[in-house]
């Protein structure tokens, strides 16, 4: 395994014995976050959501994934939008998927 095993650590956890992706508790939420949210809300420059939150609330509170925001708050912002953030419709992700997204957003950081 050696070096490859170390580098591939995260991958090895997620991939089951027969090569299938094992469903972990946050998988769906993580994927929704990656596809729909991360481009604006990941840490670092070039992410408009993070930039906005940094200017309103300070850098420490600028990354939504680290904030454990209240579930109702996330739900409202997602469906109504906030400032420059346009809302997401149920046809993009439905309420059940939104619950998964919220679960992931509120989970402790790995």
């Amino acid at each position: 395994m050696g070096v490859k095993g170390l580098l591939g650590g995260v991958l090895l956890v997620a991939v089951g014995l027969n090569g299938q992706v094992a469903a972990d508790e946050y998988e769906q939420g993580r994927e929704l976050y990656r596809f729909y949210c991360s481009h604006c809300h990941n840490p670092g420059e070039g992410h408009p959501g993070t930039q906005m939150l940094a200017s309103k609330k300070g850098v420490e509170q600028s990354v939504i994934r680290e904030q454990q925001l209240p579930a109702e708050y996330i739900r409202t912002v997602v469906r109504r939008g906030l400032l420059e953030m346009a809302p997401f419709r149920p046809t993009e992700f439905n309420d059940a998927q939104l619950d998964e997204l919220i679960k992931y957003l509120r989970a402790d950081q790995p």
Partner: protein, 516 residues
């Protein structure tokens, strides 16, 4: 419930009766009627007018063409107007909201299949709900060496943006030009294919645009004559080399010389993709915020702008473009480009690895390779999210550029707003996108922005500039500026409308075309 705006001539019972029948087709949860069920996500919160000015009565979301046809037939029978959206991210022009309150949004986001990827001939066939990001990831995952061309926001629709005749940043950036083959559903539910697709067993639907007989694809763009359900889109094969470059120019009045240099490079194709020339605040807003330089009301003063330009190593104008092809071709073309723009005094050239860590340059480089991202939304942070885009077209000459720039900047300043804009050098024309940014929570700013926009439409028209696209709130005003021979073209549009959609159920008011 009681606040629901209704379509003209329909009672709430009529509407709900029709929606109940639609629910039998699409499933109950795909008829969205209540704010708590997600209808709020169909509102336009960023315009100069209140939400009520474009509030839909509800939304319906078919999963496939068959369901769509059934929904349209029900709507036509009862007289329920439908506003078609694909990904619904037409932000700056109205988002997913309809022109007229009470219109039912026909949301095609669930129709999101990539139907064909043809590697050999480099095209895809997509449904309306396919976003740039989705298509990009599909090609990447499958190691397909084709590039997409995306608009700046990753979540936009490949089909929807082309229907608006939007643009991107690779040599395939004129999205409607790269469209080939359309499937359309009309207001009575009729389904047909354009071009070669009109032949039952055609094998060139997505290879040859024009077919046989009248070429009608274009009349379905920026219109309300039909609903596109499938589109062929040409993709650019990954080129053997790419050389993105950025050139900054120090003074506002350099605009004249820059455009005079640009035209003879654009017309014969020495510059291969859009030559994007953004002003200081546009480029700077990606990496900084307004309050770092100015906390007062009104436009940012010259001194603050100078400071920002120095800190961020930006010019009054900043051009980003790229070369593509075999390295030898790139080298040859680059010599011409470098020599030409270096004539502008104080021009500074930056290549791929320069400007490390500048998010503005990073996202430009991505867009010029068709890699979707969301970075440009940072611009909207400048004032808090409210914005409408003013997008007039002008001849690509120095005089016209200066004139258009002066009209927009002086009016913007007079009304108390920053001038935040980008010139897109096309083939012979250029489009200036002035992002009129305002604080949507501030009623006075909203009102001033609304007035400013109308002033700009009028002054631009008086100078011969018409908008290529506009926000919901200004569709009639812009249509009225297309006034040759007493508005003859819009009368033709009305005739086509009457023939294809006699009950006027599709997108009433889109681009100033109304049912009779």
């Amino acid at each position: 419930m009681n606040n629901r705006p209704l379509p003209d001539g329909l009672s709430e019972a009529d509407l709900l009766g029709g929606l109940a029948r639609m629910a039998e087709v699409v499933g109950k949860k795909w008829v969205i009627l209540e704010p708590e069920a997600g209808l709020t996500a169909y509102y336009d919160t960023q315009s100069t007018l209140p939400i009520s000015a474009s509030m839909p009565s509800g939304a319906v979301a078919p999963a496939n063409t068959d369901e769509l046809q059934k929904v349209v037939k029900i709507a036509n029978e009862i007289g329920i107007p439908l506003w078609t959206i694909s990904c619904g991210k037409n932000i700056g022009y109205g988002g997913p909201a309809p022109r007229k309150p009470g219109t039912l949004v026909l949301d095609l986001k669930r129709m999101n299949r990539i139907l064909e990827v043809n590697v050999e001939s480099a095209y895809v066939v997509v449904e309306p709900g396919v976003s740039y990001l989705q298509l990009y990831e599909h090609l990447q995952k499958n190691n397909i060496p084709l590039w997409i061309d995306c608009a700046a926001p990753a979540w936009g629709s490949v089909l929807g943006n082309a229907m608006e005749r939007g643009g991107g940043y690779t040599p395939y950036g004129d999205h409607w030009m790269m469209q080939c083959g359309l499937e359309v559903v009309l207001a009575d539910g009729t389904l047909f294919r354009t071009g070669m697709g009109a032949m039952e067993n055609s094998n060139t639907w997505n290879l040859f645009k024009y077919g046989y007989g009248p070429y009608i694809d274009g009349i379905f763009t920026q219109s309300n004559f039909g609903i596109a359900t499938k589109m062929g889109v040409w993709l650019m094969p990954e080129p053997p080399g790419v050389k993105p470059y950025m050139i900054t120019f120090p003074r506002e009045e350099d605009l004249h010389q820059i455009i005079e240099i640009m035209r003879p490079l654009k017309v014969p194709g020495v510059m291969q993709n859009a030559a994007v020339l953004s002003n200081l605040i546009w480029e700077g807003a990606i990496s900084t915020t307004r309050d770092r330089y100015y906390r007062g009301d009104g436009p940012m003063p010259e001194s603050a702008r100078q400071k920002m330009a120095a800190d961020l190593e930006l010019g009054a104008w900043n051009m980003t473009s790229s070369l593509y092809g075999p390295p030898a071709v790139i080298d040859t073309l680059w010599q011409v480009i470098e020599e030409s723009f270096s004539q502008v005094k104080g021009a500074r050239i930056y290549l791929a690895d320069d400007r490390a860590g500048d998010p503005g340059w990073e996202y430009r480089k991505k867009l010029m390779r068709g890699q979707p991202n969301m970075t440009e939304f940072s611009l909207l942070n400048w004032t808090g999210g409210g914005h409408v885009d003013f997008s007039p077209v002008a001849p690509m000459t120095g005089d016209e550029a200066m004139n258009l720039f002066n009209i927009c900047q002086s009016n913007a300043h007079e009304f108390g707003f920053d001038y935040v804009a980008e010139f897109f050098g096309g083939w012979r024309q250029m489009v200036q996108v002035f992002m009129l940014l305002f604080d949507p929570e501030d009623a006075d700013q909203r009102e001033r922005a609304n007035q400013l926009f109308s002033v700009l439409i009028r002054e631009a028209a008086a100078n011969g500039y018409g908008e290529y696209r506009t926000n919901l709130s200004f569709m009639d005003e812009v249509a009225a500026t297309y006034d040759f021979n007493d508005g003859a073209l819009w009368k033709v549009h009305q005739k086509i409308k009457r023939a294809l959609d006699p009950k006027g159920i599709l997108a009433p008011g889109k681009q100033g075309i109304w049912p009779l």
